[in-house]
């Protein structure tokens, strides 16, 4: 569906006399960039709102001076990039930026890729006309990764913008800094935009928005990526390398299912050790935003690996007697294909606790909807959607891409959002004014979907039993609601049915008669909302909304009634104008789900690949046979955007690969990447050689990396759906299998810039009641964990992370993500 | 008259025993070999000075032990015999050069005679003559021996299966044979004057001081002999046998180590021989009566030796055709004319 949607109305504009095509409603700057035309701009970020901080993108459009980042294109618009007055203005702005900017390019980390350097050269600034006394600004560390040097900062506000509009943390903001007052004479003597810019620059500096010295954010480091100067840097990277010394290796972020584009930037470790080391991760920040694991969990390579022949032979023997191979989502498509081939030829079981539930859910979804995969992706949501619904995903932890999309829709598309999750979260409501959070009971995910059906579905398409079931919630409480409210509801429902036209309310008034009795919604109350006020709120949310999408998370796959949920999702798609995206739990879960036939449980002699087992293949360096880590091998990964993405090796690996085992066991092609072509085409893969896979973005941000999985579409009947058992909820102390942000697996944990501990996370109040350490007792075992308070959590549910495979958390939770546990203080 | 004078001197001398001759032969071998080595050192030094350089400086004081170093080097170097060479001839050729050079010295009075002091056991009172063998055809023998020396380079060049060697050998043949004529003819005039072929008689003939030196009577013969001597000893400006710029190293191209060293020693021994002949025949030889007679001849020999080096530093090579032209069209006719004039004067 999303592929079809990308057809936009194209208009024609003229830039410097030459005609170009542009998307209607686009900013001039983006239109120019899409057409490969350079307009100087410092403060603007493609997918965020214009800040107008730098004012350097000044252009003349139809005879008027406008800011290219802020003015939208119109049919036939004539844009002139350079006029004498604009050039004068730009030069003044750049001179002002250079006033008192420390002349320490020699040691600055940004030197060589610094936009201040570039624009100073581009605009030929060779002399300075302005001056002002400088104020001392001390460098600070905002968090365990963020390093800020305000002396270098040009207050372009890109960091604050990206943090607010994309990341959603809004952790940093501009504050007053008490610089010297500008000489009043400048107001007359210098160009006015430059003066205004300087006036603001002189007064401001960036600081954590919570008023302390610490940011308390998700430490994604996107502010570092977007900083045009050397003001923001990773604490680990400061003064260790120049930009030009680093070799960029295009790759895919391995940990979350975002599959974000990254560059491993490598350079020899030191003078004495010439093996290449990853110094940092960078990204095409105009087109992709990274989460903390993608940016900071990079040094997880298996350094100790050697070609240990004895271990290799032992591995061959182990495979011959193995009954189960247990692995996880941290695996490339090629390796998954190898394991599947082995399974077919040698007949052992494949057990993958991270992916199994997801695979089953996908199969149910396919059976119910006829679609082999979900219909949209997070990029499309950011571009189009203005109403997002999130069900069953801990947005802050599970899927950074979904979090960014959810937030970006609120900020950029004037959107609204519904967030359904049992664990309360204080960050989500801050994404926008029209975000409604439902903290429902564990087990009520189906009800959330029923509510969606109730709110958005074309009622006539709904099966009668579903309609009845939904209406069964709208009974008694109706009386308590006043007349006025009822009227507004009427209008609402009308809008829905007639395709979101507000004016048609009168026309449908006659139908109101029926609906009156169905007025108040018990579903909202069941889901933890307030049905009394919700109708009003929802009406506000629905204003001017045209494009709806729904994000589904891991909770649903592990739900007891996952099959019914999958059917409900299919029903939502069939009856509502809502696109759906599902997050694959972790890394390459989607690839594994498509390629491997997974078994329900393990038994007998087990080989663990990065997992527990009788014989352990491990890329962590602690197994019986070493394997290459994700940054040491080539291969492809599938992501939430349904793309098959090529990733490359950044650091050297000297041991055996899975393919070497394959050669001995069943015969295999020369290289691991020779498997790329053999990926199953009946599951949507294409027969394209690894080396032929593209890996780039277009100028307008179109993602050209790898290829998109083919989605098969079969016409199916509407599924039979059972009701929700409203009483089947978990009570008592509930543990939720959920990792802290930035932690996904053993590899993120191994990385030295990831600090989140393997501990029990709880809301501040809950943590206080639990003490420092608890034993979490499950039906089938227990685990002892430190307690860490997460300020952004509310409620009593505690989070138990699973990123350490050796701790066997998956085994404790079994087939669900929530468990009733006993918490014992230790 | 001259003959009697010579006989008188010889008869005055003590009995020449075979032991004395043997000692003399060993002395000549030892000293001339050493001198040949020393000659290389002197040559390098003199050439260096004339080019305002220092020459060898590092082995021993002023580089004096350079000879020893070179000797050690030559002795320890690998002896390479080319695969296609005629091995026997290749191996004996340098011996011929060295041997003929030393044999020639047998008839040359090199040092004054002396008697070994009687306190030395075994050899005490042995008389060591100034000449190892005072042949009555001394000059003829020396010239003949030096002429025989041409077999060294000739055989060496032809045996080594190397085109530069062949060219060197060919040049040897033409140069040595041609200039043999000039040497012989130029020295014929002094022989006619002296009436003897013995060096002792030459020495006696010029015994009456500088005024009686042959050079004043036979200046043309002296010049001709000198020029021919340069050619015979393969010295600049006539060193075409192993002219580096043209034929790599000529007849010595394939030689290494001590075999090459023997050519070297032979060449320097020949230089000494020519110097001695020139000194005795034209510059009065040694003063048998004076106690410093041996010193005067040493100085004279040294002068000629130095002259050879000096000329090398100053003058360029001639071409082979110029060499032949000079020999047959200039020097040989001059020599004949010189003999005729000498003969006419003697008859008159």
């Amino acid at each position: 569906m999303s592929e079809v949607q990308t057809v936009d109305t194209m208009i024609t504009i003229k830039i410097d006399g030459i005609e170009y095509k542009a998307k209607e409603g686009e900013y001039i700057l983006n239109a120019a960039r899409a057409n490969d035309i350079f307009i100087p701009a410092i403060c603007y970020l493609t997918r965020c709102s214009p800040t107008l901080a730098c004012r350097i993108c000044l252009v003349e459009a139809d005879g008027k001076q406008v800011y290219a980042c802020n003015a939208k294109v119109k049919e036939g618009m004539e844009v002139t990039i350079d006029t004498p007055t604009i050039l004068e203005e730009r030069r003044a702005i750049m001179e002002v930026y250079d006033v008192n900017h420390p002349l320490q390019c020699g040691v600055c980390d940004k030197s060589g890729e610094c936009e201040l350097q570039n624009y100073t050269l581009e605009l030929g600034i060779d002399s300075q006309s302005y001056m002002i006394p400088d104020t001392k600004r001390e460098t600070t560390n905002w968090s365990s990764v963020l390093h800020y040097d305000p002396g270098l900062c040009i207050v372009c506000e890109r960091c604050t913008t990206v943090c607010k509009d994309m990341i959603g943390d809004s952790a940093i903001t501009t504050v007053k800094r008490g610089g010297a007052e500008l000489d009043k004479g400048y107001k007359e003597s210098m160009p006015k935009d430059a003066y205004a810019m300087w006036n603001k620059l002189q007064k401001s500096v960036i600081a954590p928005s919570n008023g302390t010295g610490e940011t308390n954010c998700s430490d994604c480091g996107e502010c570092i990526a977007v900083c045009p100067v050397g003001a923001l840097a990773s604490r680990d990277f400061v003064y260790t390398s120049n930009a030009w010394d680093l070799k960029r290796i295009p790759a895919v972020a391995a940990h979350s299912s975002d599959g974000a584009q990254i560059y491993y930037e490598v350079k020899p470790t030191s003078i004495t050790d010439r093996t290449e080391k990853i110094y940092r991760i960078t990204n095409e920040w105009n087109y992709v935003s990274l989460d903390g694991s993608a940016r900071f969990a990079y040094d997880f390579q298996n350094t100790t690996a050697t070609k240990d022949k004895a271990a290799f032979d032992a591995a061959i023997e182990a495979f011959k007697k193995a009954e189960t191979v247990r692995f996880n989502a941290m695996i490339t498509n090629e390796e998954a294909m190898m394991l599947q081939t082995l399974k077919e030829k040698m007949g052992f079981k494949l057990y993958n606790p991270e992916v199994k539930a997801f695979q089953t859910f996908l199969n149910h979804y396919k059976a119910a909807s006829g679609n082999s995969l979900w219909t949209t992706d997070t990029d499309a949501i950011m571009k189009k959607s203005d109403f997002v619904i999130s069900i069953g995903a801990a947005l802050r932890n599970d899927s950074p891409a979904m979090k960014y999309a959810f937030n970006n829709v609120q900020k950029m598309n004037k959107g609204a959002g519904l967030y359904f999750h049992p664990v309360g979260d204080t960050l989500i409501p801050t994404f926008g004014k029209t975000v409604e959070v439902f903290t429902h009971k564990v087990g009520h995910e189906e009800l959330a979907l029923y509510l969606v059906l109730d709110l958005f579905a074309d009622k006539e398409k709904l099966p009668s039993n579903v309609k009845e079931y939904i209406e069964s919630f709208k009974k008694s409480e109706t009386k308590t609601i006043t007349e006025k409210v009822e009227k507004t509801i009427k209008e609402m429902v009308l809008n829905e049915e007639t395709g979101e036209e507000e004016e048609v309310s009168k026309k449908v008034k006659e139908e109101v008669e029926k609906e009156i009795t169905v007025s108040t919604n018990g579903l909202v109350d069941l889901l933890g909302g307030d049905s009394a006020t919700f109708e009003d709120t929802f009406a506000k949310m629905m204003k001017k909304k045209e494009n709806f999408s729904m994000m589904l998370g891991e909770d649903l796959y592990y739900h007891e009634k996952a099959e019914n949920i999958a059917k409900l999702v299919a029903l939502v798609e069939a009856t509502c104008d809502i696109d759906v995206v599902m997050t694959p739990p972790k890394s390459n879960a989607l690839g594994v789900a498509l390629i491997c036939e997974l078994d329900d449980a393990q038994s007998g002699y087990t080989i663990g690949y990065n997992e527990n087992g009788d014989f352990r293949l491990s890329a962590l360096g602690d197994g019986d046979l070493d394997m290459p880590a994700m940054n040491q091998q080539e291969g492809t990964l599938c992501n939430i955007g349904k793309r098959v993405l090529p990733t490359n090796a950044a650091v050297e690996y000297e041991g055996y690969e899975l393919n070497d085992l394959m050669k001995v066991l069943v015969g295999a092609p020369e290289l691991t990447i020779d498997w790329t072509q053999t990926l199953p085409t009946n599951r949507g893969f294409k027969s394209i050689a690894f080396d032929d896979l593209p890996n780039s973005f277009d100028n307008d941000g179109t993602d050209n990396r790898g290829y998109r999985l083919e989605i098969s579409n079969v016409e199916t009947e509407l599924p039979e759906i059972s009701k929700c058992d409203e009483d089947a909820v978990l009570e008592g102390d509930i543990a939720y299998r959920c990792n802290p942000a930035r932690q996904f697996n053993d590899f993120t944990d191994k990385s030295h810039e990831i600090f989140e501990a393997f501990a029990l996370y709880a809301s501040t109040e809950k943590a206080a009641s639990l003490g420092e350490k608890v034993e979490v007792v499950f039906d089938n075992g227990s685990i002892t964990l430190d307690v860490i308070a997460d300020e952004k959590m509310t409620g009593d549910i505690v989070k138990v992370p699973d990123f350490k495979a050796a701790q066997g958390v998956y085994d404790l939770f079994g087939t669900s993500r929530y468990k009733t546990v006993t918490l014992r203080k230790v | 008259m001259e003959t009697t004078l010579a006989q008188h001197i010889v008869t005055d001398l003590p009995q020449v025993t075979w032991i004395g001759v043997l000692i003399k032969a060993i002395l000549i071998l030892a000293i001339i070999s050493a001198l040949a080595g020393f000659g290389t050192f002197i040559e390098r030094k003199v050439l260096a000075f004339m080019q305002r350089r220092l020459g060898p400086m590092h082995v021993g004081p002023y580089g004096l032990l350079q000879i020893a170093a070179d000797g050690i080097k030559l002795f320890t170097k690998e002896d390479i015999i080319p695969q296609n060479a005629n091995k026997l001839i290749f191996m004996i050729a340098p011996v011929i050069t060295a041997a003929t050079a030393f044999i020639a010295l047998a008839a040359v009075p090199v040092f004054p005679d002396f008697t070994i002091p009687s306190w030395i056991p075994l050899l005490g009172d042995t008389f060591v003559p100034s000449i190892a063998s005072d042949l009555n055809i001394g000059i003829l023998f020396v010239l003949g021996m030096m002429a025989a020396g041409l077999y060294g380079p000739l055989l060496a060049g032809m045996s080594q299966a190397n085109k530069w060697g062949i060219i060197g050998a060919a040049r040897t043949a033409i140069q040595f044979l041609s200039y043999e004529v000039v040497t012989g003819l130029s020295i014929l005039a002094p022989i006619m004057l002296v009436g003897s072929l013995s060096f002792v008689d030459f020495n006696a003939y010029q015994a009456e001081g500088i005024g009686s030196w042959m050079i004043w009577q036979q200046p043309v013969a002296f010049v001709l002999f000198l020029i021919a001597g340069f050619a015979e000893t393969n010295r600049t400006p006539f060193d075409l046998l192993e002219h580096e710029a043209e034929v790599v190293s000529g007849y010595a191209t394939e030689y290494s180590g001590m075999r090459w060293g023997m050519f070297f020693i032979g060449e320097y021994a020949n230089m000494i021989t020519i110097s001695v002949i020139a000194a005795i025949v034209f510059l009065g030889g040694y003063d048998a009566a004076s106690s410093i007679g041996w010193l005067t001849i040493m100085l004279k020999i040294a002068f000629f030796f130095f002259l050879m080096l000096w000329v090398r530093a100053a003058w360029p090579h001639v071409r082979p055709d110029q060499l032949m032209w000079l020999c047959w069209k200039v020097l040989m006719p001059l020599a004949v004319v010189n003999i005729l004039i000498t003969a006419l004067v003697m008859m008159a």
């Binding site: 040691v107 002399s127 001056m131 003064y239 260790t240 030191s270 | 350089r53 100053a314």
Partner: protein, 207 residues
Amino acid sequence: MSLEQFKNRNIGTQNYVALDVGKPPKSGLCQFKQVVKRTFKGELFVGLWVTMKAMLKALFGGDMHTIQYPFEKLPISPRYRAIHDMLRLLESGNYRCIGCGLCEKICISNCISMDTRYDENQRKEVSEYTINFGRCIFCGYCAEVCPELAIVHGPRYENASEQRAGYSLFEDMLTPIDKLNLQQEYDGFGAVSPNADENIKKTPLAY
């Protein structure tokens, strides 16, 4: 002869003097006469005299040209580009090198490498610095590009090494702290030009 004249390749427009070598002798008699003439003209003795004079001057006139190299050395030009020196700041004795990495970047034979770090004083510190003299071609770009005049070419030109890749570490090239007073300001490749002031645009200062 001036350089312009030397570079002028238009033969015939210059003041070249044709050497009179006479005509080659035609007959044998002429050749003979030439030999006699040359022999008695004494030209040969001129040659001998020249070399003798040179020898006498060399031996007794102190005109010996040999430099006995390892013991004697010729003075070299300040612009000579030999083994690098790393200079210190004269006042404090600190390294001049700020670790900007420009020399590393510009090095066309890729022989410079450095490790830098964030030190306790929040400054960039060069923790190690080497030049692989097995690869260095002594082009002088590093000295020219250095913004601090920290890396310069010194006078040490003896770079033979027992090992194929001779490395030199920071300390080897750094002016020893006890010889700081002997440190020479470098006026060779990359030094500030005498007219540097004329090329500078002044920046207004508010203090």
